[in-house]
Amino acid sequence: MRNAFLILVAIACAGCEREERRLNQPSPPAPTQFVAQVPLQPGPTFVATATEAPFDDNAYGTSEGERLFSQMNCVGCHAHGGGSMGPALMDDQWIYGSDPSQIFASIAEGRANGMPAWKYRLTNEQIWQIVSYVRSLSALTPKGARPSRSDQMMVKPAPAQTPNAKPKRSGPPGGAGH
């Protein structure tokens, strides 16, 4: 009985993270090590590592990421996750990796074929928020913190309604399983 109570308290405390608004706090640092993910290099492609993104379990941070995704015109190329000029972000194909540090690097440093570098435009905190939103699109973040609705036309159920996904092996588009 007592254990059950303690477990309940632990669950309740874990749930607090979700709604926490980390306002007026120092920006989380950029990842110190980027995992190289260039498909045009010799050798094998990399399995996603498992670093942590500061806003993955935070609904407010994820929705701020969604707002920035529109305001910074990510939608101009990636649409609302479905992709057009840029690759789709709601499927399980990851050219440069699905790990938070890899997505951070893709946004901060830019990528070949048109992805601009944002590190001089956005703060680390903002990039981390976009990372969490992008990961939520393919159900890589904890289910409870993912958006349960979207203001855009939706081609698949809201991220909160999709089952959790496993990080996928990354590789160039057109590879196996495409």
Partner: protein
């Protein structure tokens, strides 16, 4: 400065007029009810002893019935009177203005985007939170929202109207007294709803036209090297990704337009006076002043900040 009882337009005056009538009649009714109650308390005690209190006097029932009927009739009459009065005020507010100045007002979390409509695109003004209007000319607002529902409310000038996402509504007034009027978002719209104020400066037509001519001009390239450095900070450290300055390469519409930033008296949507110190504080960490605002902190060095603020101060 921010009061329904100090109307500065025929529209606000009509609303204030209705309010004073409702206040007067409401007060009179309240006094009459209180007087009737005190009178009845006194009378009962004077006429009869405490033992007989529970028994009604003969003929009392029909007397009470008459009084209640009369009071109900008068109440209904007063309410119908106010309904008619209210409709007549509504008609005054709903009339379409003749030859209005049209301003497109868009609500954002948590600031107001202001665009002076003009067929000639080079004559359009885009600004934020503070607008100038001529005295004696109707001003029509086209209200929209970029995110959630906001509400436009200038207590001294007109009633309220909501700004609804995906929908366009209009409201108008004609300021007849020059002055500076403060307005406020009147529909809860998130964390910083309280710090979403706007300012309307009503001024004589000639002065207004002078302001318009200045506000419509683009900025020229700064000559000074400090200013050039400040401008470079603005363009490269993230400011330009949200803010626009006409005449430069910054043209984003995410945040307030800063083309004539220094001509505004307040910053952060009516939160702080537009002084050098406040601007520096705001740029460095807006989250300390307005937690939750969409503007992120900018970790600039003292030199960079100083040059940036010096540059912003030239945007008159």
């Amino acid at each position: 400065m921010h009061s329904v009882f100090d109307p500065a337009s025929p529209q606000a005056r009509a609303v204030a007029h209705l309010w004073w009538w409702m206040f007067g009649v409401g007060a009179a009714v309240w006094l009459a009810v209180m007087a009737a109650m005190l009178l009845s308390l006194r009378r009962r005690r004077a006429v009869r002893g405490p033992d007989e209190l529970m028994q009604p006097a003969p003929g009392m029932d029909s007397h009470i019935e008459r009084v209640v009927k009369a009071a109900t009739f008068v109440t209904v009459l007063i309410l119908i009177g106010f309904l008619a009065f209210d409709f007549s005020i509504g008609r005054i507010l709903a009339q379409q203005p003749v030859d209005p100045l049209t301003i497109e007002l868009t609500g954002h979390q948590w600031w107001w985007e202001v665009q002076y409509a003009n067929q000639d695109l080079s004559q359009r003004i885009v600004t934020a939170n503070e607008m100038h209007v001529p005295v004696g000319q109707p001003v029509r607002f086209i209200l929209r929202s970029r995110d959630v529902i906001h509400s436009f409310w200038m207590p001294n000038l007109t009633g309220k109207r909501d700004l609804i996402p995906g929908y366009q509504s209009t409201i108008w007034f004609q300021a007849d007294t020059a002055g500076t009027y403060r307005g406020q978002c009147a529909e809860f719209c998130g964390l910083q709803h309280a710090k979403m104020a706007l300012t309307i400066i009503a001024q004589p037509k000639a002065q207004y036209q002078l302001w318009y001519a200045a506000a419509v001009s683009a900025q020229t390239e700064p000559a000074d090297s400090t200013l050039l450095y400040g401008q470079r900070i603005f363009m490269t450290s993230g400011c330009s990704v949200c803010h626009a300055i006409s005449g430069t390469q910054a043209y984003s519409t995410v945040g307030p337009n800063l083309t004539h930033f220094k001509s505004r008296t307040l910053i952060a949507s009516g939160t702080l006076p537009n002084t050098r110190e406040n601007v520096a504080r705001w740029v460095l960490n807006p989250q300390a002043i307005k937690p939750g605002t969409q503007m992120p902190p900018s970790p600039l060095s003292t030199d960079q900040l100083s040059a940036l603020v010096t540059y912003l101060e030239t945007l008159k």
